[in-house]
């Protein structure tokens, strides 16, 4: 049995090293008027792990991701990031702290090329000021080159060289999802948030996406939080799983632990009849 609660972290079954706590959600409650989307939920995310959030439709998974990325502000509870309580922040400020995300319904810049889309991911790695930018002077041009190099690496990594110059609007769904992942990766995020990265994909696209998520985690050690419906995918991919239902947390642990949890089986997997 893995000791996933140890302060220093743990070693996974396949030998990857998981570190200490990167982010901790403490007693988060989120309400929209009278509707309680998230009810008093606490869990942590450790450096280097793939953490899944699962649950039936309307369980509050996406709301939770939006709390982490600063799109929603919970009425109660705290977000502890890198050991400090995070003050109320705008989404762009959260992004600049190294938290990148993708969206359930792809949010790419449709009118821009794949390359330009991914370049926007490097926005806060570029430090040249407006004047230098406008005059293409000083660090502006050097930075553009350096960042372009980083972006090319990611393009190679995700095997999208052939569509580099294509306007995003022309791409098929599966590739758009991949470009969105590339843009998030371009930010070299500390924590990567994926909102249903495999929704609406066919089997082949799903397999590709699975491989990329694992490779990214392996290669860059990127801490990944993902929401997913496909149970098989979740159990294969993730190190630990949070299970939500009606805004409450009903399970938390390794895929094996969660699979054996009575509440989880009842709420999400359905009661077995055999």
């Amino acid at each position: 049995m893995l000791d996933t609660q140890s302060d220093e972290g743990y070693i996974t079954a396949d030998g990857r090293k998981i570190g200490g706590v990167a982010m901790e959600m403490r007693n988060i409650t989120l309400r929209f008027g009278g509707v309680v989307a998230i009810k008093d939920i606490s869990f942590d995310i450790r450096w280097g792990e793939i953490r899944a959030i699962i649950g039936p439709n309307g369980a509050g998974k996406s709301s939770m991701l939006n709390v982490i990325s600063g799109f929603y502000h919970p009425q109660e509870g705290e977000v502890i990031y890198k050991g400090y309580k995070r003050p109320k922040m705008k989404p762009y400020q959260v992004a600049r702290q190294g938290i990148a995300r993708t969206f359930q319904n792809i949010a790419l810049f449709e009118g821009m090329s794949v390359l330009d889309n991914i370049m926007t991911g490097r926005m806060h790695h570029m430090k040249a000021n407006m004047l230098q930018q406008a005059l293409w002077w000083g660090r502006a041009s050097r930075e553009e080159d350096e960042n372009r190099e980083q972006v090319e690496k990611i393009i190679d990594f995700l095997e999208i060289q052939h569509i580099r110059k294509t306007p995003v609007a022309r791409l098929p769904y599966g590739l758009k999802k991949r470009v969105e992942l590339a843009r998030a990766l371009a930010a070299e995020p500390s924590i990567l948030l994926l909102d249903e990265p495999m929704a609406g994909m066919n089997v082949e696209e799903k397999e590709d996406m699975c491989r990329f998520i694992l490779d990214v985690n392996d290669e860059f050690g990127t801490t990944t939080v993902l929401i997913e419906h496909d149970m098989g995918v979740v159990m294969d991919l993730s190190d630990r799983v949070v299970v939500m239902d009606y805004g409450k947390k009903i399970g938390d642990g390794t895929p094996d632990e969660v699979r054996g949890n009575e509440d989880v089986i009842r709420a999400y997997l359905g009661v077995s009849h055999d």
């Binding site: 990325s69 799109f71 705008k90 989404p91 762009y92 400020q93 992004a95 600049r96 990148a100 995300r101 969206f103 949010a107 790419l108 810049f109 449709e110 009118g111 821009m112 330009d116 370049m119 926007t120 991911g121 926005m123 806060h124 570029m126 040249a128 407006m130 930018q133 406008a134 293409w136 502006a140 930075e143 553009e144 843009r183 998030a184 930010a187």
Partner: protein, 328 residues
């Protein structure tokens, strides 16, 4: 060469230069519409306000002089110095940036995620407010604007065409300068938006607000940036129109001439604004030239709108606008 053809060529050239002036105003609309989906009704008034401020600063007028005199019983009107043009233009740019910050702070910030029609109404309000403020600040009389641009007939063009055709074309030097300056403005805007970080951020915000936030772009900063750029474009347009016909409150009406330009070029295309402006400019000069003997003069007043109506019938998205596709 027959005289008629020569006259038509001259009219075409004049149309091109006039078209550039229309395009300049339309450009300001396109910039803001692309970045924030707002049809900025105040663009024309911004050009007026920029020109008023420039003249006021140049001639050392005391802003709000009438108001101050009315309240305190003083009789001030001028500081007694003249600001050189090279100083007054950057100062006016600063004023336009200040205006952009105020617009974001007091209007846009409070109307995030509202319907386009509500934002449009807000800009109508802004237009009248700004016109009033401009009036109180600098006075309502017609002012001459001189930033040192040459005026009058271009001798070079006259000589050149006389040498070729035995007939000298009349082209206003001011309009030639306007064309050159507009070309530089458009080229630098294009380079800025294509090859710099902020330009990319600008396009990103124009495309998808949520996604822009998720990569760390501050929407408020980008709005201030867009309105500042639109303010600078308004200043350039204000200088050109002001030098041509004096700075007066009817200047804000040139915004109306930009509407047919936008309908032709599409609301989202910078090249469209340029080409649209040129087509309208040339179209109205040629139409006037050929139709005047038949239906009388003054066709320039309505030709542009008629052309826009025809376009609305056959190509509502304009020449370069994004295709309108209804998905079901």
């Amino acid at each position: 060469m027959p005289d008629n053809l020569l006259f038509a060529m001259e009219a075409t050239l004049n149309g091109l230069t006039a078209g550039v002036m229309y395009a300049l105003v339309a450009l300001g609309f396109v910039l803001i519409f692309k970045a924030s989906g707002i049809f900025n009704f105040a663009q024309g008034v911004m050009a007026l306000f920029a020109a008023l401020t420039l003249v006021g600063l140049q001639s050392g007028q005391v802003p709000f002089a009438h108001l101050i005199n009315a309240i305190f019983g003083t009789r001030i009107h001028h500081f007694g110095w003249n600001m050189p043009t090279l100083l007054a233009i950057p100062a006016t740019v600063l004023v336009m940036i200040g205006l952009a910050i105020l617009v974001e702070r007091f209007i846009l910030k409070h109307l995030v995620n509202q319907e386009p029609i509500i934002l449009f109404m807000a800009t109508i309000g802004l237009a009248y407010l700004l016109e009033g403020v401009g009036d109180i600040m600098w006075g309502a009389e017609v002012k001459a604007l001189d930033v040192g641009l040459p005026k009058g007939m271009s001798g070079a063009v006259d000589d050149l065409t006389f040498g070729w055709f035995g007939y000298g074309f009349y082209i206003d030097r001011l309009e030639l300068w306007a064309a050159g300056i507009a070309a530089i403005l458009v080229a630098s805007l294009t380079i800025f938006s294509q090859y710099t970080k902020q330009g990319r951020a600008l396009r990103a915000v124009a495309d998808d607000h949520q996604a822009a936030l998720s990569v760390g772009i501050s929407l408020r900063f980008i709005w201030v940036l867009t309105w500042s750029i639109a303010g600078i474009v308004a200043l350039v347009a204000g200088i050109m129109w002001g030098s041509k016909s004096g700075v007066q409150f009817s200047l804000s009406l040139i915004a109306l001439k930009a509407l047919p330009v936008l309908i032709l070029g599409g609301f989202t295309s910078i090249p469209g604004a340029i080409v649209g402006g040129l087509i309208i400019g040339v179209g109205e000069k040629l139409f006037d030239f050929y139709m005047q003997p038949i239906i009388g003069g003054a066709t320039e007043n309505w030709f542009a709108y008629m052309l826009a109506l025809v376009f609305l019938l056959f190509r509502p998205q304009g020449l370069f606008g994004e295709r309108i596709i209804e998905r079901v």
